[in-house]
């Protein structure tokens, strides 16, 4: 069973009629995810492939008993889609959309504070429990079911790179979570670390961070205090110049905060095994996880 879900996943897709939304709905279903339908306001009653479309999340949830949603709504409407899902009582909200204005996300995050929903993303590849389900845009075939490694990352393709290295080195994955590259997001490193620590099937963790903010530093301190399992850490953007936003809205070094070196130091000081070069992840995994 995946972290973050107690019941088997029943997924709806907000924005199922968009080109990307429909393509990845099909891919998730092919991977084995139980897709129950989709939401596109104004197209209720129609179908997307074989899936029924509903006008609202509430309607979709009532009809399908969905407990998870995957959001492909364009950036201008995505924060609203997140809040709609939370209001309808969806437990797991995975928002793929990139480019949501930060103030929209601040409002959405505040709205979620007293709801029971968990938000993953936005601007993320999603979550996958190999062999069980995937909610997101990950290439499913690079993953290996059965564990024992948990992966958490701020980046999309960098997650794939890490997962693929683990797979090639003979390590399967329990769950891989892309928490997203935006400065304000739903689930952070610590939420995932806590869940991996509690998950009996996970015996080691790979954490992929990048420059900007101080979430890696906070996670490092949390690991030292709470995590009993070995953790390998990687930071992208060590060579990035200060003051420039490196693609991800959250990846910016301001003044002395958010630097790659600072994060690596925090990793080392807190007992995290540092992987400086991603090409060596497989070898480091063998040394660290046995």
């Amino acid at each position: 069973m995946s972290i973050f879900t107690k019941e088997p996943v029943r997924l709806i897709v907000q924005g199922i009629t968009g080109k990307d939304g429909f393509f990845h709905t099909q891919k998730c279903a092919e991977y084995g995810t139980n897709v129950a339908g989709g939401v596109t306001p104004g197209k209720g009653g129609e179908k997307a492939g074989d899936w029924p479309i509903y006008n609202s999340v509430r309607e979709a949830r009532t009809a399908t008993k969905a407990n998870a949603t995957m959001i492909f709504v364009p950036p201008a409407f995505a924060a609203d889609a997140i809040m709609e899902a939370a209001e309808a009582g969806i437990e797991l909200i995975v928002c793929i959309t990139e480019g949501i204005p930060i103030m929209d996300m601040m409002r959405a995050k505040r709205f979620l504070a007293d709801k029971k929903s968990r938000l993953i993303g936005p601007n993320c590849p999603g979550i996958i429990t190999p062999g069980e389900y995937k909610i997101g845009i990950q290439p499913g075939f690079i993953h290996t079911p059965g564990g024992p490694i948990g992966v958490v990352s701020r980046s999309g393709t960098l997650t794939y790179e890490s997962v693929y290295a683990l797979t090639q080195a003979g390590y399967g994955q329990t769950t891989c979570v892309g928490i997203g590259g935006d400065p304000v997001n739903g689930t952070n490193f610590i939420d995932c670390l806590e869940a991996f620590n509690a998950d009996a099937k996970t015996t080691g963790i790979v954490m992929v961070g990048e420059i900007g903010g101080n979430n890696e530093e906070k996670a490092a301190a949390y690991i030292k205090a709470n995590i009993k399992k070995p953790v390998i850490g990687f930071i992208a953007g060590i060579t990035a110049p200060p003051g420039r936003r490196m693609g991800h809205a959250g990846a910016i070094v301001s003044g002395n905060s958010g630097t790659g070196q600072g994060k690596l130091t925090a990793f080392r000081e807190n007992g995290i095994v540092v992987c400086e070069n991603l090409g060596e992840l497989g070898a480091i995994a063998k040394r660290t996880f046995g």
Partner: protein
Amino acid sequence: MKIHEYQGKELFAKYGVPVPKGGSAFDVESAVKVAESIGSWPVVVKAQIHAGGRGKGGGVKLAKNIDEARAHIKDILGMTLVTKQTGPKGRLVKRLLVEAGCNIERELYLGILPDRETGMHLIMASAAGGMEIEEVAEHSPEKIVKVYVDPSSGLLDFQAREVAVGLGLPAAATRQFLTMLKNLFRLYLDYDASMVEINPLVLTADNQVLALDAKIDVDSNSLYRHPDILEYRDVEEEDPHEVEAFKYDLAYIKLDGGNVGNLVNGAGLAMATMDAIKAAGAVPANFLDVGGGANAEKIANAFRILLSDSNIKGILINIFGGILRCDTLANGVVQAAKATELSVPLVVRMEGTNVEEGRRILAESGLKMTTATTLTDAAQKIAAAVK
């Protein structure tokens, strides 16, 4: 997206944030006219570039009369202004702001920004104005007043008062300050600012608060709903390669002193690729994320932009196909390489969705290139090629 100080002050004036009397000009005669129209002396002539530290670089000068004003205007307009934020090459000054000087009693700092840790709006203020806030934060953090504003309630009166008290404002200036702060906060929200900063905000001898500077940075993700801010965009302040990349929706950043161009999908992997190039002993010339939904045409444009940088001695392509399929990438590369008559070494590393098909397309294209298996392997091969 950054805007100029004079543009920021236009917004300030519109929102009721007091600014000195003045105006902008792009040539000497108009600037002199602005100086005359102010109707009092001294006036301040300020270079308008998207970088701080202008005063120390000689881009801000005080004039006591019209002759001095004309002399300063002639000096500053057209000068190459070097500050610690522009780098050694400096920036050519093409725009001026001319405004009334004022009688400064105290210099303060005021800034508002979204706080990523808490997801709240953060107002920062300090009685140590004129200094960079990062410096104050490092040496005397106790001098910074921080007030967090909940996005659901907005700025409340008592919070605005906390800022005023924290700055130690005299009673006579407090009411005007509170109005100014609320107006500034409204502007910050209305324009999706990722930062508004007034440094210095001054208290004049007659207890007026006045914004002597205006720094506004607007969240690029929100520009679709701010057409008036897009009008403010000054492409001459940006790198021409970056302007070109912006047209094709490519996340591209030029890096100084690099010799290896690189093209990657995904921001995190693009950063990791830069790091790997550096670790292998070469220097990355750019950051370029073509994104997940790239098509062959977009890849071709990205490739063309890379090649237009004459410092590049080699190119590394690193793709982990997820949404972006390797065959799509390969088609774009072949198309672009043929159109541009590629003359530098090319190393390609591909993995992921449709990788076999992608490799076949590259192999059959007749293009001269080296293939690599892992990120490390790719970085070492390109580093060796540009040596």
